[in-house]
């Protein structure tokens, strides 16, 4: 899903960088020292995720996992993905360097959307709601990122609905895989270390022994 160099026009690239700077400034506020190891590990997972290829029909797609980043890090998902995208562009040539801003907004926006969907679970009390909402978050992250991709490509003269349809169709397998992976991960973490997931309180406040 990473956009390559030379496709988007100057104003769109600039808008991408401005958007990234603004959102990063908002989401980096009051970052705790304690959060940093968690951000570090999840950024590493996101960074490596793009290397996992899944053959789909005539082409192949790769994992994105921005849904997982949103579910675990909450608001801090955006700076984490920003770091991951920068390193992917520089070290892997994955996505153009001039497009880093736009790619950050695309994937970071998806992660924040996933966080939003994930937080909706507080309104429900279901069995294994973490798995369900984790899966929904994973799928919606890909969906929202696809929408942002289509929006960005509109400026190159493509029709939005046509692009959106094509982006969706191409990424449905990814959406399904992401939903499965994030749902499973969220369920697993909810069982062993629930306080790691975004929107859950830390054990110190609950009086439980931190195992």
């Amino acid at each position: 899903m990473h956009i390559s160099d030379g496709i988007l026009s100057g104003p769109v690239l600039a808008a991408g960088f401005v958007g990234t700077a603004v959102i990063a400034g908002l989401t980096l506020r009051n970052m705790d020292m304690e959060e940093i190891p968690k951000v570090s590990v999840i950024t590493a997972v996101f960074f490596v995720a793009s290397l996992i290829h899944v053959p789909v029909g005539p082409s192949s797609v790769h994992l994105i996992l921005n849904g997982l980043v949103g579910v675990v890090l909450g608001w801090r998902a955006f700076p984490a993905i920003m770091l991951g995208v920068i390193l992917q562009a520089i070290l892997f040539g994955h996505g153009g360097v001039s497009v880093i801003g736009a790619n950050c907004v695309m994937l970071g926006g998806g992660a924040l959307a996933a966080y939003g969907v994930w937080q909706l679970r507080h309104w429900f009390s279901l069995e294994r709601k973490e798995v369900i909402f984790g899966a929904l978050a994973g799928g919606s992250a890909t969906l929202v990122s696809g929408m942002v991709l289509s929006l960005a490509l509109v400026t190159t003269g493509e029709q939005f609905l046509v692009m959106a349809g094509a982006a969706l169709a191409a990424h449905i397998p990814v959406m399904i895989i992401e939903a499965v992976v994030v749902g499973a991960a969220a369920g697993f973490l909810a069982k062993v270390r629930p306080h790691i997931l975004a929107g859950n309180t830390a054990p110190a406040l609950l009086g439980r022994p931190s195992a």
Partner: protein, 226 residues
Amino acid sequence: MAGRNALMKIGTLMRQEEILDERRRRSRAWRNGLRCLLSLLILISAAPAYAHKVNVFAYVEGAQVYVQGYFLDGKKTKNSAVVVYGENDARLAEGVTNGEGEYVFNVIPNQDMRIVLNAGQGHQAEYRLSVADIAGGELHDTPLLNDASVGNAESGAHVGAPVTGSGNGGNIEAVVRRAVTESMLPMARELAELKERRGLSDIIGGLGFIIGILGVFAYLKSRKPG
């Protein structure tokens, strides 16, 4: 009395055992999770790491330029738009790749060419052919050039058979050049793939960057007064 105290003590001991079991189970689950992550990372690093990128290269054969588009994991880019730009970004040719990811167009002499392939969804790559490259592949001053360039159709989305020699003395050079080009093709393709390959060192480098940058961030945070 003593009996009840004994029972209560046993009860407390059992409760402590349960807590310890719970902790052991949790740390075992945590360790298992970490082992999964580690094995996943090792598996990834064992395979060659190709970013999902589109790539294109082009070569001149006879009086035509063959453009080949492909994803780095081997799949060909079908029905992808190709635009050829010359000097001052003039559009020299455009078309669509066929089922094999190939696009062919006729050589336009004495121009540096920039061939851009767009595989949709934001994936694009370009390849530059200089005048020297074109001259190397083209056949100058031989009867073949005259046969090939006159009256050729403009549409290029076909894989035409390369121009063959016609039994002339000067055509031994042409045949040799064709043979060399054909044997160079797989090497050119491998070279393009090799340039894009990301090995374990890139992955470890990236992970190191992440830890380092966040470590610096943590250090700066810890120095804040109060």
